[in-house]
Structures are given as structure tokens and as C-alpha cells.
């Protein structure tokens, strides 16, 4: 399936959960927040929340700012 992750179109294995996606990308879940199609996915829901073809995902973290 195809999904957009942080603005880039990616080919991903079918049936991935958000938790699977973070593992697939090598991202530690405790460092990030995830939004799927404009809605925050709570960390506790990462294992259940399945990604669908065409989804738009944002994975964000804290950076320096004023």
C-alpha cells in the first residue's frame, strides 16, 4: 500500500499498525507524536490503529524553538 509520511509518498507493507510503522522506520515511539489523516493517534492506541492505503501520516517531535 501507499501512504504519505511526513510529506513523502512511501510504499509500505499491507496491514501495518502505527506501532509497526514506527518500528519499520526505526523510530522510538516515546520520542514522537503521530497524526493519522489529521487526527492524533494516542500512544496507547499505536498497536491497534491500522494504516490504510492513501493515509496521510505526520510523525513529529520537539525541536529547539522560542
Amino acid at each position: 500500500m501507499r501512504a504519505t509520511v511526513n510529506g513523502d509518498a512511501r510504499e509500505l507493507p499491507d496491514g501495518l499498525s502505527v506501532a509497526d510503522l514506527l518500528r519499520h522506520l526505526g523510530v522510538r515511539a516515546e520520542r514522537v507524536a503521530v497524526e493519522r489523516n489529521g487526527t492524533v493517534v494516542k500512544r496507547a492506541r499505536h498497536p491497534q490503529e491500522k494504516i490504510a492505503n492513501g493515509d496521510v501520516l505526520e510523525i513529529v517531535t520537539f525541536v529547539g524553538g522560542g
Binding site: A33, I59, V60, T61, F62, V63, G64, G65
Partner: protein, 262 residues
């Protein structure tokens, strides 16, 4: 004792009245030293897409002392919707905490970086309804500050001058009106250039200051952070001490009688 002089924001107590940003440092070790030198108990952070190509890079949070309060901002947002969306993500990033403190910043355009009051007020109402403790960056407009306070903001944060300009407090008379009416803490955010700006704002009675560029952009950020810590404390003390009234003409400080030969 004068040093026991705390203030509260959304039920949280702070002793340091200098809040510092974490942006634009040349490296994380310098940022960490500057934060420690400033004595800040709260630091601002921004929310951005994780760079998926740069995995394994040192995390910002690794360099921020754990006991400090993080104040996520909405820098880069130009509408209420973008700001609300960003802070919903920030809440998910935060480690626990009821009614998280957030710095709401909705800008109008990229040239002036001035805040958009209408969008800021709209976002503030939405965020407060969702349980955030909102500290809004805003223009030095007493009417807007009153509306933000009425909407339930935990503080108002009028600018001293445009972000990163270092021009200092451009309109002390507007700030005085804001201070006279406000029942929530007033924090001057943006515009501070050097230590004397910190002192002069604090002398007017503001609750605190938020400074980033003036520290991170100084030739020696750690020295500037120290200077601003001292100036903020000095200004606060001077405010509490109660200054003398300004007078146009001189007033002798030594006795005017018993002068030799007269």
C-alpha cells in the same frame, strides 16, 4: 526575604521570572549551559516533523534538564487551525500533566512576524475548551489582551518588539495599560535585545520575560544568559522596592541648612 517571590501560571509555581527559548543555538552543549546560566525553570520548544533520514541524532530533550517545564509553542503557524493541530500533537508528546501549559503563537505574515490577534483569540478559545493552559503571544494591544484574558488564558504575553528584532520595549505606555488592567500574569515575549531591556520591563512590574534570540544569538550566549538572569532579578527587586517619582527639577540629597560660611 525578597528572593521568595514566586508567581503562578495555571496552578504551577515558578521562582525564576526568565523563560528562555531553545532555538538557534550553535550546538546543544551551549544551549544547555545557557539554560542553566539563565536560571530558567521553563523553556520553550517547537514541534516539527521528525527527520526520518537523520535517525539516531541526539534529541533536544536529552540536553534539557529534566526538572524544567517544557512550554511547547506553535511557531510557524499562520492560522488558528494550524496552531490547534500542532498543540494537540504537543500534548501527545508531553510526558503526563493535566492541562498542559502551551505557548500559543499565530503569526500574520513572514516579514513582520507580528501576531494575528483574531486568529490567536480564536485558537485560544478552542484550546481552552480542550483543556490546555494557554499562554498567548500577542501584540501590545490592551483591548486584545483583555479579550484573551476574558477567554480564559492563564497569562498574556505581549511583545516588546518584533520577534528576534532586539529592539527592546518599544511601547512602554501600552504595556503600562496592560499591566494596570491584567488579573493574570503579564509576560513580555519577543523584542528583548540585552540585559537592560530585561531590567526595564521587570521594573514596570511584568511577571516575567520570554527570551530566545537575544541569548542564543549573543556572541557569548552563556554570559548573556547570566546577565539576563541578574537583570531580571534586579528589575524585579527594583519594582518591589518602589521607585521614587520622576521630577523635572533637582532635589538636594544633603541638608540645605548649616552649610559652612553661610
Amino acid at each position: 526575604m525578597f528572593s521568595a517571590d514566586a508567581f503562578t501560571l495555571g496552578g504551577r509555581t515558578f521562582h525564576s521570572r526568565l523563560v528562555v527559548g531553545t532555538g538557534k543555538y550553535r550546538d546543544f552543549p551551549t544551549m544547555q549551559k545557557a539554560i542553566l546560566a539563565s536560571g530558567a525553570e521553563m523553556v520553550t520548544v517547537a514541534i516539527r516533523r521528525l527527520d526520518l533520514q537523520a535517525q539516531g541524532e541526539a534529541s533536544l530533550l536529552h540536553w534539557i534538564p529534566k526538572e524544567l517545564t517544557l512550554l511547547p509553542n506553535t511557531a510557524g503557524c499562520y492560522s488558528a487551525d494550524e496552531a490547534v493541530r500542532t498543540l494537540r500533537l504537543a500534548r501527545e508528546l508531553q510526558i503526563g500533566g493535566e492541562r498542559p501549559l502551551v505557548k500559543l503563537e499565530v503569526l500574520a505574515d513572514q516579514k513582520t512576524l507580528l501576531p494575528d490577534g483574531e486568529e490567536t483569540l480564536r485558537a485560544a478559545r478552542q484550546l481552552i475548551a480542550e483543556g490546555f493552559t494557554v499562554l498567548p503571544y500577542c501584540s501590545d494591544d490592551p483591548v486584545l489582551c483583555r479579550k484573551l484574558e476574558d477567554a480564559g488564558c492563564a497569562a498574556v504575553m505581549p511583545l516588546g518588539a518584533p520577534i528576534g528584532s532586539g529592539l527592546g520595549l518599544r511601547n512602554p505606555y501600552s504595556l503600562q495599560m496592560i499591566l494596570d488592567q491584567a488579573k493574570v500574569p503579564v509576560i513580555v515575549d519577543a523584542g528583548v535585545g540585552t540585559a537592560s531591556d530585561c531590567a526595564s520591563c521587570m521594573e514596570m512590574g511584568v511577571a516575567g520575560l520570554l527570551v530566545n534570540t537575544a541569548i542564543s544569538g549573543a556572541q557569548d550566549p552563556v554570559a548573556m544568559a547570566t546577565a539576563m538572569k541578574l537583570a531580571t532579578e534586579a528589575g524585579r527587586l527594583a519594582f518591589r522596592a518602589g521607585r521614587i517619582p520622576r521630577k523635572l527639577y533637582g532635589s538636594a540629597s544633603s541638608p540645605v541648612t548649616g552649610i559652612v560660611g553661610k
